[in-house]
């Protein structure tokens, strides 16, 4: 804590490498600032300028992050080790920004249609993407907390964006209160850890743990528990999942899509980084390690079971996808449990997050197109006979559903294959058997969507929805990606591997 009392110039200046490493963040932040300015110029009809600025910002961010991904060797500590820029963070930066970009694409017409076209929407999406980027690179509990709040606060507003709608308000309120509680738990845990170890830096905390091989003080364990619970809350694993279905159902559809992809990936990205940096899998004493392992194991099994079984009975598609999202969190936990014991490490987790983001975002873009006024018309029976009205959208939905169910040749299958394979390597065979049986359950509700789309006749003759060019671009991109990752997964696997080896 000397930095607070004495000024050390080397802490205030940035080397060239650090400056470069910060470029994606600067670009996104600069873009956001411009977008804010553009959005207050009401006389300009700010819809187009803000939308274009938002798209340019995400593209610039993606370009600079992928440039870093190619050029950067090793990791770059920034701001006195509070943040780190490495292949992992840049990989996820691309995921977050791409997810934001596709959300913007699919929202554009939707907002017109719903008469919600306010420029703040785009700014908030970008802000929360920035929060995600910071989360994936945080190496300090304080930075992590700030990033988390930046992301969450923006999303709270987005969830309640349809101000006049009751369900939307309910969702926003619920999400705000429960999300704040989760943040508070995380913060409380961080405070306890700081109290015991004298630092909020994760690597210092690891050093503290390693210095106490005999046993850790109770307060430390309590703090670690609370941090863990905070994360489990954010990634919505059972029994901390209660907020999710209501929020997903009530939020405007593109926002839900953004939440299931970006938000989830960010929470897991930070979770994995914190867990590994805190010594999970390497460096923890056996007792603590197996303790963490057991907590995650129980949570994974419960999450997969509850998510999949409850999803079986849902008739609203957004709600069904919410429960399916819970189930997928369970699979990802399987990967985290397997991480230390398998040679693939956490690469399957990263791969799964990407695959999940792609297929889920795709499904939500389709739902966004189909949604009627106030997000009506998203029940299963509204999809009856969709294949006559929208053959290509139906095909896309088919690809996404098969992918989520884990049927080849889709991204979902390749990712699941890798994930469960690594769990077998880690000798978690009972867990894998539970996981594959759960995914067999999930096939039922994914296929039921296709039953309605392809095999049932529509009631009456519903009108076809209007499909904007922007949404079409987003859907096609997701279909191509889903199939591409599924058929030729080698590239994505090596990218994921590269990302996790930098951890």
């Amino acid at each position: 804590m000397e930095a607070l009392t004495t000024i050390r110039p080397e802490l205030l200046t940035l080397t060239d490498g650090q400056l470069q490493a910060l470029m994606p963040y600067f670009l996104v932040f600069g873009g956001i600032s411009l977008a804010i300015i553009a959005s207050v110029l009401r006389s300009l009809k700010p819809k187009w300028p803000v939308f274009i600025l938002g798209m340019l910002t995400t593209i610039a961010g993606i370009c600079s992050a992928s440039g870093l991904l190619g050029s950067q060797a090793g990791s770059e500590l920034i701001f006195n080790g509070m943040m780190v820029s490495d292949a992992y963070s840049n990989f996820f930066n691309i995921v977050f920004l791409a997810s934001a970009a596709f959300t913007l694409l699919s929202s554009f017409r939707y907002l017109d249609h719903e008469q919600l076209q306010h420029p703040e929407y785009y700014v908030l999406v970008l802000f929360s993407a920035l929060g995600m980027m910071l989360m994936a690179s945080a190496l300090d509990l304080i930075v992590l907390f700030i990033a988390l709040e930046l992301m969450s606060l923006s999303v709270y507003v987005l969830v309640g964006f349809r101000r006049a709608d009751r369900r939307c308000n309910e969702a926003a309120m619920k999400y705000f209160i429960l999300g704040s509680a989760a943040s508070a738990i995380l913060l409380y845990g961080s405070a306890l850890l700081y109290g015991m170890t004298g630092s909020t830096n994760i690597r210092d905390i690891l050093a503290f743990v390693q210095a106490h091989p005999q046993g850790l003080p109770v307060v430390y364990v309590l703090g670690a528990w609370l941090v863990l619970v905070g994360f489990l809350f954010k990634v919505a694993t059972v029994p901390f999942h209660m907020w999710m279905p209501d929020v997903y159902e009530g939020a405007p559809t593109p926002v839900t899509g953004f939440m299931t992809t970006g938000l989830k990936a960010a929470a897991f990205a930070a979770f994995v980084r914190v867990l590994i940096s805190a010594g999970y899998g390497k460096g923890l004493v056996t007792a603590v390690q197996s303790h963490f392992h057991d907590i995650l194991w129980v949570s994974a099994v419960l999450t997969m079971l509850v998510g999949n079984i409850v999803a079986l009975t849902q008739v609203n598609l957004k709600r069904m996808l919410a429960y399916s999202s819970i189930a997928h969190s369970g699979y990802i936990l399987v990967g985290m449990i397997a991480g230390p014991g398998s040679e693939q490490g956490y690469a399957p987790v990263v791969m799964y997050l990407v695959a999940y983001a792609v297929m889920n975002l795709g499904a939500f873009v389709v739902l966004t197109i189909l949604a009627g006024r106030d997000d009506s018309g998203l029940n299963l029976q509204d999809l009856a006979g969709l294949s006559r009205r929208h053959p290509w959208l139906s095909f896309a939905m088919g690809v996404f559903m098969f992918s989520m169910a884990g049927i080849p040749p889709t991204a979902g299958f390749a990712a699941k294959y890798l994930l469960f394979y690594s769990a077998v390597q880690a000798n978690e065979i009972p867990l894998v058997i539970i996981a594959v049986l759960c995914s067999a359950i999930s096939v039922y509700y994914y296929l039921r969507v296709l039953v309605y789309i392809y095999m049932r006749d529509p009631a009456g003759s519903p009108a076809a929805s209007r499909v904007s060019v922007w949404s079409l671009v987003a859907v096609s991109a997701m279909v191509v990606l889903t199939l591409q990752i599924g058929i030729l997964p080698a590239k994505m696997v090596s990218a994921a591997k590269k990302a996790v080896t930098s951890l």
Partner: protein
């Protein structure tokens, strides 16, 4: 040509899919457009059949190992490669598939009246998936094709099926999927064992054959892995008591779907046993021999009894499949060359005869829109050609000498007698029951007075329908009279299969380098 020579299997494999994608571009708004689409699809399947004849010609009868092999890295990080090749066991099932596809397509001309573009696309897509499963030499690749073929079949049943099509499609999909997911876990374990035992990742079949897994007792690795594989294959076969999806799927599927289900998809179970479950886990096979022989024998008798009381012709044929596939299972588990040969032959026979039966049932259904046995009677008088064709196929199904069915069942009973007399006796009873239900059904449908007015004006077979049936009938007699033609390219592979499954080949293969066998076949 040089390129085609070295990529013959891949070309044949993906030709239907590529062909189908072009087919999607044909506008089907007019009757002319629809006719173009049908012709286009038929041509695609005939072209595939032609290529597969080329494969037949290139296949060297003397070789026991995989031929025409191709290998490309796919996911090197996990040792996964795109590897295809065939031995005699693949060859004939491959040919059966390509032979039946034109027939199935031709039979759909009138039956399918809506959404034809999707229908024909799915049929060709299905062909690629089935062919892929028969030639995949990498367990990952095999699994991909194995699951892939569920997708088109699911839609074929669910969209163009009968009244309860959605239930049947869902049941078919879930049933087969649950079985294969446990197989997937077993595949993970095998692939990981290769890493443990040989230090490198591989999912190539030839490499996995070299694994040594503990096989003593019911809780051993071999036993558990065998059960995981066997569950997937037994559901597909389908073996009693896992057969319950089959009557639903068969009855609800459109004619072409039923033909393909019966003729090819069920064979995947038998093929899976021969290619994977037996050679990979020889000790476990011995351990479970008795159980599977018993289940097979039960399936034969049970299937026959249930078939006997069915009021619906299609359902009767569906249950007869359960009975016929029971023979395949007891033949395989008898573990001797005669029975194994018979078993394999029986798979081909069943493909032809049951396929033909479903075609015939489809034809009469198109005319009468019912399949109730009681709705018919005296059909011989109104449809003589149809009656002749039905007679021939029925006789083939009850294994009359001179038809294909006889060779298969005779060899199986002969071989099973050596392995287990009790099983052979029960199975022989099944032959009698088989004759009873088929002939009884034939009698009720074909003979007697014409009781129903609607039946008096039924048209006999059209030229197109004859074109569908004649190849099948020719195949029935060809296989019944010239079995040696088929055995010659099969013998070495069957004996190699048995060497592997009884553990005799372990020593030989441990000595040879991993993938050399594949390349040796290419002449390098």
């Amino acid at each position: 040509m040089a390129w085609l020579d070295s990529h013959l299997l891949t070309t044949t494999l993906f030709l239907p899919l590529v062909w189908a994608i072009f087919g999607l571009m044909i506008p089907t708004g007019t009757p002319g457009g629809r006719a173009t689409l049908r012709t286009w699809t038929l041509l695609g399947s005939i072209a595939t059949f032609a290529l597969s004849l080329l494969i037949y010609q290139r296949y060297d009868a003397a070789g026991a190992e995989f031929q025409l092999a191709e290998a490309i890295d796919w996911l090197p990080a996990l040792g996964i490669s795109y590897q295809v090749g065939m031995d005699g066991i693949s060859l004939w099932l491959f040919l059966l598939t390509t032979f039946l596809m034109p027939v199935a397509i031709l039979s759909s001309y009138q039956a399918i009246e809506h959404r034809e573009r999707e229908y024909y696309f799915l049929l060709l897509f299905l062909e690629t998936a089935m062919l892929g499963a028969f030639v995949a030499l990498d367990v990952f690749l095999f699994y991909v094709f194995w699951e892939l073929l569920l997708i088109p079949m699911y839609f074929l049943i669910g969209i163009w099926g009968g009244k309860d099509r959605i239930y049947a499609a869902m049941k078919f999909f879930l049933y087969t999927l649950v079985g294969s997911l446990l197989m997937l876990v077993a595949i993970f374990y095998l692939a990981y064992q290769h890493k443990v035992q040989f230090g490198s990742y591989s999912t190539t079949l030839i490499d996995l054959y070299r694994l040594r897994l503990p096989g003593e007792g019911y809780a051993s690795a071999q036993s558990l892995l065998f059960l995981a594989f066997a569950l997937a294959f037994a559901i597909k076969v389908p073996l009693f008591p896992l057969h319950t999806w089959l009557p639903d799927a068969h009855v609800q599927a459109p004619t072409a779907g039923s033909v393909i289900l019966a003729a090819v998809l069920l064979k995947m179970g038998g093929y899976g046993f021969m290619r994977f479950a037996f050679p990979l886990f020889p000790q476990a096979v011995l351990l479970y021999q008795v159980h599977f022989l018993a289940l097979g024998a039960i399936a034969i008798v049970y299937g026959a009894w249930v078939a006997m009381v069915q009021p619906d012709i299609k359902k009767l044929v569906a249950y007869s499949s359960v009975s016929h596939m029971g023979y395949v299972v007891i033949g395989l588990f008898s573990l001797n060359p005669v029975a194994a040969m018979g078993s394999y032959y029986q798979m081909l026979n069943h493909g032809i005869s049951t396929g033909a039966l479903f075609l015939l049932v489809g034809m009469i259904y198109e005319r009468r829109h019912t399949r109730e046995i009681s709705a018919f009677g005296g059909i011989t008088r109104v449809m003589p050609l149809f009656a002749v064709a039905f007679m021939i196929v029925t006789l083939s199904s009850i294994a009359l000498p001179g038809t294909n069915g006889f060779i298969g069942e005779f060899l199986i009973l002969l071989g099973t007698w050596q392995a287990s007399r009790a099983t052979a006796v029960v199975a022989a009873l099944g032959v009698i029951f088989g004759a009873v239900y088929m002939l009884w059904m034939f009698q009720r449908v074909m003979f007697g007075p014409v009781n129903h007015k609607e039946n008096e004006s039924l048209k006999d077979l059209s030229f197109r329908e004859l074109a569908v049936l004649i190849p099948m009938i020719v195949a029935i007699f060809a296989m019944g009279v010239f079995p040696n033609f088929f055995f010659s390219k099969l013998d070495p592979s069957i004996s190699r299969f048995l060497e592997r499954s009884t553990g005799a080949a372990l020593k030989v293969e441990a000595a040879s380098a991993p993938a050399t066998a594949v390349y040796a076949a290419k002449g390098e």
